[in-house]
Symmetry: C2
Subunit: 556 residues, 2 copies
């Protein structure tokens, strides 16, 4: 059996190696247009920052063997042709046309073909985008060029166009290298995978670290001589010694399109759950292949190295006659933003509403360990669920606390189709150095249950702010202790500590809507229950408390 794999970076080599492990009679050839094989593209920002010292580490095995063509031949029994570009697929004759290192045209016959052509950086058609020192970050060559520029001198003015995952990772790397950084994002928020209130936390953290973030800002032109000097936006000009274009990636599908394979609604190659394209002899894996969202059952496009590896295994199993099925993805993602860990899985609130769920959410900021442990750090958490079925739909986390663990707990619950009630009774590992006795996820799930059971009527801080801005007359009831008020409070709020509330009910106007809150709104919830029992009829709890307040605050 002859197998040709087009693409030698992630999903391609994985598929090839697995086929060679499974089949005695397979003859596998990997075609890669670049030089480097099987390298960790996700590590590039850490190479730029110097965290990874040598680019060879990105293409080595854990014991330091570089994965070159010799390695693939001796260890994986796989022929790899690098510097070789696949130029066309002739499906009728089952051959791949390639152009080799020295410009020769050749044909590689196949019984099975695997497309692992990856993704390309999206190109923004902005005037001046081809000036020198404007880079995207797709491969090691890009990273080397960027590193050389950064090495020129400290305190370069850097503009990062795009505030998605790559933009955010590059921003941290550039900060480490001493740049003055501005992130310019066309959308009204950074990290479009998050809901706005979570993205705002990330933006605030960036600004606390000295990174300027301009959201809702369009780049109209790059100007300069041969090198970029200025980034012109609809909100002013920025000096720029270096620009990174991080406006997203697009599946690299030219070969597939030319060969007449079906392209899905996400513009990636349509595949079934064995990674077969519309031509069953041709598979597509990794960043060029469309994925299925496990929750909605609809096509999705989330290019990640973790998914690429799983898909490669499934394709290899299918090619070798082993039964296997790829169940799809959840859109799980995580990134480090300085001291913040920022992650998500499942559907965002926005996405869940679009799909048509009757969405219920909660915001739950809390220490990620018992408050008495000095290592405890704050983690902001958001859960999203469907009110009718009580099924969990997604989670988002941001903060210095441990986010990856909580995101993965929810990812597993989503994969299993669990309800919020099931999640709330999960037997998570507990000890004080790791989590509170009631883990953040379980506390958040219980808040959602209280809402769904009608025990708690929530309102988001953004909704409260909107009501106030529209001039609504309402009582903002802050039930924190006097010591906490010193730190920060919302102007115009009324203060009655929770412990005194039962005795001071007469101070509150029964005819005015009341919004109760505290630091994180656990006490706000208790306050609302006390008020409800005392006959107050219009009491809501502000989700996430003052910690999630997006408006102004005053001290003392």
């Amino acid at each position: 059996m002859k197998v040709v794999v087009i693409g030698g970076v992630a999903a391609g080599p994985k598929t090839a190696s697995r086929i060679n492990r499974l089949c005695d009679d397979a003859e596998v050839t990997v075609v890669e247009k670049g030089e480097f094989l099987s390298y960790a593209g996700c590590g590039l920002p850490y190479y730029i920052s110097g965290t990874v010292k040598d680019s060879k580490e990105l293409m080595s095995t854990p014991v330091g063997t570089v994965r070159d063509t010799e390695f693939f031949k001796n260890v994986k029994n796989t022929r790899v042709l690098n510097h070789t570009e696949a130029t066309a697929i002739d499906r009728a004759r089952k051959v791949v046309k390639v152009r080799t290192r020295n410009g020769e045209e050749q044909e590689l016959p196949y019984d099975k073909l695997v497309l692992a052509t990856g993704a390309d950086s999206a190109i923004a058609p902005i005037p001046g985008v081809n000036l020198d020192n404007i880079y995207s970050l797709k491969d090691i060559h890009d990273a080397d060029r960027i590193k050389a520029k950064l090495a020129e001198h400290q305190a370069l003015n850097a503009v990062i166009v795009g505030g998605g995952l790559i933009g955010v990772e590059v921003a941290e790397a550039f900060h480490k290298m001493g740049c003055r950084i501005t992130i310019v994002e066309f959308l009204p928020q950074v990290l479009g995978i998050l809901d706005p209130e979570m993205a705002l936390l990330v933006k605030n953290h960036f600004e606390a670290k000295g990174v300027k973030v301009m959201t809702g800002t369009r780049v109209t032109e790059f100007t300069g001589g041969t090198q970029v000097e200025k980034v012109i936006t609809d909100r002013g000009e920025l000096p720029a010694d270096i620009v990174i274009m991080a406006v997203g990636v697009r599946p690299a599908t030219k070969l597939a399109v030319d060969a007449g394979l079906t392209i899905g609604p996400t513009r990636a190659i349509a595949v079934n759950n064995q990674m077969q394209s519309s031509d069953p002899e041709i598979y597509a894996v990794g960043d060029c292949a469309e994925k299925l969202n496990m929750i909605t059952g609809k096509p999705a496009y989330v290019p990640l190295g973790s998914t690429a590896n799983k898909e490669g295994r499934v394709a290899a199993n299918s090619i070798c006659g082993h039964s296997d099925k790829f169940p799809g993805i959840l859109g799980s993602a995580i990134c480090k933003v300085f001291d913040y860990n920022v992650g998500r899985t499942g559907l965002s609130e926005k996405e869940a509403v679009e799909v048509g769920y009757d969405v219920v959410t909660c915001l739950a900021p809390a220490p990620d360990k018992p408050h008495f442990m000095p290592s405890a750090k704050l983690l902001y958490l958001k859960l999203i669920a469907d009110r009718k079925s009580r099924r969990l739909l997604g989670a988002q986390a941001a903060g210095a606390g441990n986010a990856d663990r909580r995101i993965d707990i929810v990812a597993m619950a989503l994969m299993a189709g669990m309800t919020v009630d099931q999640l709330a009774n999960a037997d998570l590992s507990y000890a004080p150095p790791y989590s509170p006795a009631i883990d953040n996820i379980i506390a958040a799930a219980n808040t959602l249950r209280n809402k769904m059971d009608g025990l708690m009527d929530g309102i988001t801080p953004a909704q409260v702010l909107e009501l106030l801005e529209k001039g609504n007359d309402l009582t903002l009831l802050d039930v924190r202790s006097p010591a906490e008020l010193e730190m920060m409070r919302i102007e115009g709020s009324v203060h009655i500590p929770l412990g005194a509330l039962r005795k001071r009910l007469t101070e509150l106007d029964k005819n005015k809507p009341i919004i109760a809150f505290c630091k994180v709104s656990l006490r706000g919830y208790e306050a609302a229950l006390i008020l409800n029992k005392a006959g107050f009829r219009d009491v809501k709890v502000m989700d996430g408390g003052i910690l999630m307040w997006p408006g102004k605050m005053v001290r003392g």
Copy 2:
């Protein structure tokens, strides 16, 4: 509705507070024999070590309010009688007899009664066990006495009897306080919740930190004047200035037994999934209540603060007429042992075999992040599954790497009854600062799949050692690189680097069984596949590689 709750530490206050939130007409009284309420018993080792400075932090809310009787009255609308001991339950008359702070006998009538009497330290009937400076660690008073003793001078000789979770946590605390420590454990290993090869890693780590660990050792006597001076064991005497008895806990069931309630096979109070005892008006929650193992469907006893809180919520919901069910536990547990994170969930291999599963396991040591990230740390992982159903049964983790996340991922998979195949395709959050592109859990699940699919014939390092000790003639084939061999190797092993194996097959004897391995046995697996394809018939892969080797090693 009159509700009496016996026990004011964890599950009791939780149940009481939730009842007050749910019911308008409930009159809840909590009876606690001690002084302190609602405190974090799990935090006591961190109070002893000075990590937690003030014991008040253990009984405070996150914003620093001490949970005393006033707090419960004002905030939770709950009457708490501390220094008040429940002495008997009269089920016919539905009253609890109590003895108050000043010795008065009273009767508290109830409509619903909640037992949250907790657990007591097990008492070992060893001669001399009542000498001074021999302590257990059940409450804040114990911790204060231990702290006072430790403050006397540095470098006390400390003996910890029992190498379970509490013993291990106390050992770390005592080490921080400068003690010379010996852990004496009757069983052949520390941490009986782990399988032996994982427990061995913990023992080795203890010894690397200067803590002496004597397993398989029985304490026969404590000697001294009024104070303990020596611990006498069947393997010699140990000088002792302080002794901690950490030989386990027993559910505190005297009241329940006297009242004729059904006690389960684990000696805890039998309950249904709404936490009702054999008397439906009496609930039992927390450490005094029996739990259900979600995997086996059989009774289990794992006392933990995390479980207590969930049970309290379920009991309160049931008492107030809300439907809710506690699904049971998985035996998830975690502890910090110096730089190691050590956890488990589900069934151990030992337990799974006892239950009758056709058990398949794998050992998977690997860095917890991509090897090129300087923050990557080694994590030893073990997965346990059922060969027939391919259902996941349990996981264990130990090492400096992130264990809690992996344990919780598996806990969620276990709760959902997932197969190993499902786990292998989980969409976990991935970025280099958090995990490898193929997460440790997914790599381990794939190893298990390879074993179940007959692609890999594994053998544990312990089995290999046994074969060698019995004089079996076999080839131990180490396929690591020469540079790795320098560090450590197994005497008598044959060395052929994986990359050279195909060319050097003639060096190996086809008639001898071959055990292939490398550092972690991923390359050992590739070697076995190469040998199988070349016609070698008896090739096994040593699970976990040389990193899990329990025998002697040589350098250079």
